[in-house]
């Protein structure tokens, strides 16, 4: 198991955002997390990546207990993530945005900066190579020197992917990577996620676009009001009456999508 979540809960004030959720993610899998708006999906990711301390429960990643770790340490262990709303540095170029991804694998500090030591130069070069490698992976090499402000929404998503990849992760958490992207481009994003998994990465994916989930995911977990209501292969989930009911009870479009599949 790459990631193991046991009995995880998070309360905000009186609200049970995540309620006793268990999950096991196998290495190399694409594991989707779905659920209606406000189900606690993003919060679940926030717990794994260390942004919120869990109220109770345990998270293990490659046999490390990461339950109480701060986000930067978790990133170092090899968990990367993207956010629901991409927040890149608009004024800087694509390349500048991605180079910093390798920072956690470098050691240069103030001394190295002021004296431009060998280590600084070597690590700068490594970071640049890493960044190009990542940009290559997401097929954005041509846009490397373009400012973020000039590129499309879908390209920004790819930059966010590249930044995550530049941290050299084993597990990536993607929060609605296809939100705000048109249907054609969604295919491209899907292909990219598949490519990530094929290259050996473990992927956890939150997404509302059902067709995308059904074709990509190896396994799916369904959250509703913070609770895990189902977990299984896409086929199992599709035919699960509890899931269908949860969706019927909330978002019209999505429920239509689920039942139409």
């Amino acid at each position: 198991m790459a990631l193991k979540v046991e009995n995880l809960s998070k309360t905000f004030g009186g609200l049970q955002a995540v309620n006793q959720v268990d999950l096991e993610v196998k290495k190399g899998d694409i594991h989707a997390v779905i659920g209606p708006n406000g189900a606690g999906k993003s919060t679940f990711f926030n717990l794994i990546s260390g942004f919120h301390p869990p109220t109770s429960g345990k998270i293990t990643f490659n046999d490390h207990d990461i339950t109480k770790m701060p986000p930067n340490k978790i990133a170092k262990l090899g968990i990367a993530r993207t956010f629901q709303t991409t927040n890149l540095f608009e004024d800087a170029t694509v390349l500048d945005n991605v180079i910093i991804g390798n920072r956690l694998r470098t050691k240069s500090g103030l001394w190295d900066a002021i004296f431009r030591t060998k280590r600084e130069k070597r690590e700068e070069k490594e970071s640049l190579e890493k960044a190009y490698e990542a940009l290559d992976f997401v097929e954005l090499t041509e846009l490397a020197n373009e400012p973020i402000a000039n590129i499309s929404q879908e390209q920004k998503k790819r930059v966010a992917f590249a930044l995550a990849l530049a941290t050299d992760p084993e597990l990536v958490l993607l929060d609605e990577p296809a939100a705000g992207v048109n249907p054609d481009e969604t295919e491209g994003i899907s292909a990219l996620i598949q490519k990530m998994a094929d290259s050996g990465l473990t992927v956890c994916l939150i997404e509302h676009k059902m067709s995308m989930i059904m074709s990509l995911a190896d396994r799916i977990m369904v959250l509703n009001q913070g609770k895990r209501i189902a977990e299984g292969t896409p086929d199992e989930i599709k035919n699960n009456p509890v899931v269908i009911e949860a969706y019927l009870g909330s978002d019209e479009d999505e429920s239509a999508e689920v039942t139409n599949l």
């Binding site: 800087a92 920072r103 956690l104 103030l110 600084e120 530049a166 941290t167």
Partner: protein
């Protein structure tokens, strides 16, 4: 032509002008003002490293300027220390205090941080103002010696002092440039961009902010110590929040988070103030609105605005020009 106007040549030109200044200025007064510009600029570079590059507003900065000035003043006047030893002590003390203040204050976020540091700054000011027996209180501290000679080099004349201050300013700019263009600088900028994102990619935001804070305090204290030795007299008002605001204005108008912004902003406003002698006291009547206009319309100051225009014309040229597909890395280091 374009080659001639390159960044490097521009830099060399500015440097040469700065070096021959003592021989071309019409009177000592202007040289005196230029020397002050060097001092203010060093302090403003300090604010820039922290506020400009990591994006937090510290209102304690001016307090560290005062700490530097008073450390040098007290150690030389009251304890009779050697000038350079006292100078060094001012720097070391600012690092220690900056570390302690930063360690605690950086646990707070955003506006709490601004208010926390404002309180720290005000406490420093009040201590200087009220601890009469040590600091001389409102009467101030007089008779601070100028920089002691180093071997054969003396700093008796105004010209030599100007060169000394210029040296420290250039050193400050050099260090800032090295930091900004390093992985560490990229880290600072990533934190300014988004603390959340920075943490996600494995950056310890608090550790880096603390480092930037300490560097910033160090520059402030060095500037303060230089000020004390140049003006030879200090009073509690050099720790006052309004002087702090003034330095912030230099930075914001010049360009937050830019390399040349601090010196451009400081030079511009100090000389504008000088030429508007008649409104010395009321200069904020002019600079207040200028600050507001800059903040609203040019959030990255004069330098940021110029860079924006440059970028736009470059893009236009790129789009219309035939050689569209170039993909060299322009300037990574």
């Amino acid at each position: 032509m374009a080659k001639l106007l390159s960044k490097r040549n521009g830099l060399i030109f500015v440097l040469v002008v700065a070096l021959i200044m003592p021989f071309i200025v019409p009177n000592d007064y202007i040289l005196h003002v230029l020397a002050l510009v060097c001092i203010w600029s060093i302090s403003v570079y300090g604010i820039n490293i922290f506020t400009g590059y990591t994006g937090n507003l510290s209102l304690a900065h001016i307090g560290f300027f005062a700490i530097g000035a008073y450390t040098l003043g007290l150690l030389t006047v009251k304890a009779g220390w050697n000038f350079w030893l006292a100078f060094l002590a001012a720097g070391v003390l600012s690092i220690i205090l900056g570390f302690l203040v930063g360690l605690i204050s950086l646990r707070t976020n955003g506006h709490f941080f601004a208010i926390y540091t404002m309180c720290v700054g005000y406490i420093i000011y009040l201590i200087i103002d009220k601890w009469d027996s040590l600091t001389g209180g409102v009467r101030g501290l007089i008779g601070i010696p100028g920089p002691a000679s180093i071997g054969p080099i003396t700093f008796e004349s105004l010209t030599s002092q100007y060169y000394l201050l210029l040296f420290f300013l250039i050193l400050t700019i050099f260090i800032t440039k090295r930091i900004v263009h390093s992985l560490l600088g990229r880290t600072f900028i990533a934190i300014r961009n988004s603390e959340e994102l920075a943490q996600t990619i494995g950056i310890s935001t608090k550790k880096n902010q603390l480092l930037a804070f300490v560097i910033s305090c160090f520059f402030a204290a060095i500037a303060g110590a230089l000020y004390a030795s140049f003006v030879r007299f200090i009073g509690p008002e050099i720790g006052g929040i309004f002087l702090g605001f003034e330095m912030l204005i230099y930075l914001v108008i010049g360009g937050l988070g830019t390399l040349s912004g601090p010196i451009i902003g400081t030079l511009l406003i100090v000389f504008l103030t000088q030429s508007l002698q008649f409104m010395q006291e009321y200069k904020m009547l002019l600079f207040g609105p200028i600050l507001l206009i800059i903040v609203i319309f040019y959030p990255n100051g004069i330098v940021g605005a110029i860079e924006g225009i440059k970028r736009k014309t470059r893009q236009k040229r790129k789009k219309s020009g035939p050689n569209k597909g170039y993909s060299g890395i322009e300037e990574v280091s």
